[in-house]
C-alpha cells in the first residue's frame, strides 16, 4: 500500500483481556516506531525498531507491553492483561532511514478497555 496501515481501526477489550495491534509499514522502510496517544495529549514514544532489531523499548509502560517485528516488516504490539489506563490511540510510524524526521504515521488503533 501507499501508506502505513494499522489494524484493527478500533478495538474494545474487557479488562484483563490480551490484545494484539498490527502495523504494516511502508514497504522498504527501515525504521518503525510505536507511539501511544491518550485523549487530549501528544503521542508518546513506546518503542523503536531498526529492521527486525528492537533497539529502544524505553517507552513501554510496563512488562505487559510487548512489541515485535520478526521479519523487519510487519510489526505487532501486544498488550497483556489490559487495564483501563491502557485506553488510548496506538500509532505506528515508519521511515525509510534511521531518522524519525520523515516518519509517516498510520491512522492508529483506538483501544478502549472496559
Amino acid at each position: 500500500g501507499a501508506g502505513v496501515s494499522q489494524s484493527p481501526r478500533y478495538k474494545v477489550a474487557k479488562r484483563g483481556q490480551d490484545v494484539a495491534l498490527r502495523c504494516d509499514p511502508i514497504s522498504g522502510h527501515v525504521s518503525l516506531f510505536w507511539y501511544q496517544q491518550a485523549l487530549g495529549q501528544g503521542p508518546e514514544f513506546l518503542t523503536y525498531f531498526q529492521n527486525e532489531a528492537q533497539l529502544d523499548k524505553s517507552g513501554l509502560p510496563s512488562d505487559r507491553f510487548f512489541a515485535e517485528r520478526p521479519e523487519g516488516s510487519v510489526s505487532t504490539l501486544k498488550i497483556q492483561r489490559t487495564q483501563q489506563e491502557d485506553s488510548a490511540v496506538y500509532l505506528c510510524a515508519s521511515s525509510l532511514l534511521i531518522s524519525p524526521t520523515e516518519a509517516f504515521f498510520g491512522q492508529g488503533t483506538r483501544l478502549t478497555v472496559v
Binding site: F33, Q41, L55, G59, I98, P100, Q107
Partner: protein, 114 residues
C-alpha cells in the same frame, strides 16, 4: 468523527488571516524540530521541519522559526484556510545509531472561522 483532544489550548483565526502557533521545547540537544498537523481520527501529518543549526525555514504557506536561546519554536501559517483546522504538535527529533525518537509537545487546536 472522534476528537483528537478535548482540552487543548485553542487558537481561533478568521479565514484569510495569518496564524501563529507557539511551542516551548525542553531538550537543547535535539537535532531537528518538526511541526505536525493532526486531523480528527487521523495520524499526525508532517508539515515542516527545521534543523537545530537554523533559525528560520519556509515552506508553502508555512514558516517555522526557532529560537534556541529561549527554547521556543513557532509555526506561522499564511492566509489560513478552513482546511487548516486541526490540532498542531511540535516535536523534537533525536537519533543516533541505535536510538531514534520523536518527543511531542502539547498540541494546539486551530479553529478557522469563516
Amino acid at each position: 468523527g472522534e476528537s483528537v483532544g478535548l482540552h487543548l489550548p485553542t487558537l481561533s483565526v478568521q479565514e484569510g488571516d495569518n496564524s501563529i502557533i507557539n511551542c516551548a521545547y525542553s531538550n537543547s540537544a535535539s537535532d531537528y524540530f518538526i511541526w505536525y498537523k493532526q486531523e480528527s481520527g487521523k495520524g499526525p501529518q508532517f508539515i515542516i521541519d527545521i534543523r537545530s543549526n537554523m533559525d528560520k525555514r519556509q515552506g508553502q504557506r508555512v514558516t517555522v522559526l526557532l529560537n534556541k536561546t529561549v527554547k521556543h519554536l513557532s509555526l506561522q501559517i499564511a492566509a489560513t484556510q478552513p482546511g487548516d483546522s486541526a490540532v498542531y504538535f511540535c516535536a523534537e527529533a533525536s537519533f543516533t545509531g541505535t536510538a531514534s525518537k520523536l518527543t511531542f509537545g502539547t498540541g494546539t487546536r486551530l479553529q478557522v472561522t469563516l
